[in-house]
């Protein structure tokens, strides 16, 4: 049960119950859908990027506490950030979950030290690393973000 409490930290339950930046944006914002085909979770990410900066972001969709809180935490973390900063954050977040860029489990090599402080509230999702099956829930919104940035030509 100790692990379970690490998984379901209070911050996570809070973001799950009260998701931030909920909704969709109108064009010219871009709209990207993400699926987790295994459990049916869905994310709809609206991104408004202006001059290389994410000026607005909204998240819709449905799914488990991990996927939804991760989306909510992400939206709060990237709003106002430059595209470059957001991309860097994707990397750091995945590193926290011991994942490589393509979501392969990172090699046994000593992981590069990550600056958990730089992740802020996102660090609450660290407990997910112990639940391999849930890692896909935590990364759904982040993979959707990467796709959204690619598709919007950023």
């Amino acid at each position: 049960m100790a692990d379970l409490e690490e998984l379901y930290r209070e911050i996570i339950l809070d973001h799950y119950r009260n998701p931030r930046n909920r909704g969709e944006l109108e064009p010219p914002a871009t709209r990207t859908e993400g699926f987790n085909p295994l459990c049916g979770d869905e994310i709809v990410l609206s991104l408004l990027v202006e001059a290389d900066r994410i000026v607005d972001v909204k998240i819709a969709g449905s799914g488990c506490s991990i996927s939804q809180s991760s989306g909510s935490l992400m939206s709060a973390a990237i709003k106002g950030k430059t595209v470059e900063e957001a991309r860097a954050l994707i990397g750091t977040f995945k590193q926290m979950l011991s994942l490589g860029d393509n979501d392969e489990v990172a090699s046994d090599a000593e992981p590069a030290p990550i600056n958990l402080r730089s992740l802020g509230e996102l660090a609450a999702l660290q407990g997910v690393a112990k639940f391999p099956v849930r890692i896909k829930c935590a990364t759904l919104s982040w993979n959707t973000l990467a796709q959204g940035l690619d598709e919007s030509g950023n």
Binding site: L4, L13, G40, D41, C64, F131, R134
Partner: protein
């Protein structure tokens, strides 16, 4: 509640060493037989004995072990045919890799030959993807129409427009038991009405065959597909039953060795019978395991198994109603005797994935997700359910543990 069932669960549990595992430090409560049943020791042993004493490729050797392997493989075909009461057990059973491949075979062989522009295939909204996607794939190439039987508010099949849907249809392909709702469909009636309308009937028996007697002759089925790994058998093998007269007319599916009479540089001549549909080395050890699984299930008796599942289901439904009413919703018929041991649960404000995660810490194995029935999930207006499904090794203690864990889940997310 019914009288104590004929099944001696304590004795049955002895046959499943896996139930002695305690990966979470507590008694393992396996409530995921609908996804895959655990294999009893006898099945594992039949396979390993085969592998360690007999293994050889089938059909082409004259030496002793090849002869024996061929015999065992063909015996498995007979055993399966007999289990579902086929009229010609040796000629009407095709081994596939799983239930899903059986539907693909049906679509790409029977469907390829029989469906075209203007034709109609009727499915239902409670189908597993295995009985939807292959038809959609074929449709993209052949342009027939797919129609769907709906479901009613009490989560049974909506038969009100059945005749209308069947009018002019060539095939009704439908599940005997919903893997999400537990609904048991009136297959005998559907078979009669499909035939009356001039259509054939194909049945998805994945959830029914492990739970009740499925007699293809009595039900007058044209096709039946099911999954051995849900009937306490091994993975790596599936079953398609098809009436001999249909098989005789169906063009080949996969091509390769074993399914031909002759091959020339410019074409090939297909073999007759089930062989035509079994290209390449078949799942031999798996067929041996399947024989053992069906013998095991028969030794317990399908009537006793059905009664046992009914008893567990009633007990679970009553416990949920008593202790968790208003908090836990059962997605499926709640007071029908026509109900299998499959309980799809949703909890307001708690996602199925989270339910399953908390239940896991109690050793309770349930499956969260859409259960490969996304159209049904949309119809139910839910994103996912946490599904508990019963097997011969479950007892009321298992259900009590699940209920306790559900209480904890609700507390955690309240």
């Amino acid at each position: 509640m019914e009288a104590v069932s004929d099944l001696n669960v304590a004795a049955v549990r002895e046959d499943f060493p896996i139930l002695q595992q305690t990966p979470r430090g507590v008694r393992m409560v396996y409530l995921d037989s609908g996804a895959s049943a655990l294999p009893p020791h006898g099945v594992v042993e039949a396979m390993s004995t085969y592998q360690e004493t007999t293994h050889a490729n089938v059909h082409r050797g004259v030496y002793a072990t090849a002869e024996r392997a061929t015999f065992l493989y063909e015996k498995a075909r007979l055993d399966v045919g007999t289990f579902v009461s086929a009229s010609h057990p040796a000629d009407e059973i095709v081994f596939t890799k799983n239930c899903t491949e059986a539907f693909n075979l049906l679509a790409q062989s029977w469907g390829e030959a029989n469906l075209g522009e203007g034709d109609v295939v009727v499915l239902s909204e409670m189908e597993h993807h295995a009985n939807i996607v292959p038809w959609q794939q074929l449709q993209a190439r052949k342009g027939f129409t797919i129609k769907f039987l709906g479901i009613t508010e009490d989560r049974t099949l909506d038969l009100s427009n059945l005749d209308e849907l069947l009018d002019g249809a060539k095939l009704l392909s439908i599940t005997a038991t919903s893997n999400v709702l537990g609904t048991i469909n009136p297959i005998k009636e559907l078979s009669a009405r499909a035939h009356a309308a001039g259509a054939l009937i194909a049945v998805d028996g994945a959830q029914a065959v492990p739970h009740e007697t499925v007699d293809v002759t009595d039900l007058n089925l044209d096709f039946l597909a099911f999954s051995p790994h849900k009937v306490y058998g091994p993975t790596g093998i599936g079953v398609l039953y098809a009436k001999r007269e249909h098989l005789a007319d169906m063009p080949p599916f996969l091509g390769g060795g074993g399914m031909i009479k002759d091959v020339r540089l410019d074409g090939f001549l297909p073999a007759d019978g089930p062989q035509r549909f079994e290209a390449g080395t078949p799942p031999i050890a798996e067929a041996v395991g399947l024989s053992a699984a069906l013998a095991y299930v028969s030794s317990l008796g399908l009537d006793a198994i059905s009664a046992h599942h009914r008893r567990l289901t009633s007990y679970a439904l009553a416990a949920i109603e008593e202790q968790l009413a208003g908090k836990v919703t059962v997605q499926g018929p709640v007071d029908s005797p026509q109900r299998a041991g499959v309980l799809s649960l949703t909890v307001d404000g708690v996602h199925a994935h989270d339910i399953a995660q908390v239940l896991d810490t109690y050793g309770v194995c349930v499956r969260p997700g859409h259960h490969c029935a996304k159209p049904l999930m949309r119809r139910l207006g839910v994103n996912a359910t946490a599904r508990a499904s019963f097997g011969i090794y479950n007892d009321v203690d298992d259900i009590d543990t699940m209920i306790e864990a559900l209480h904890a889940t609700i507390k955690m997310f309240a």
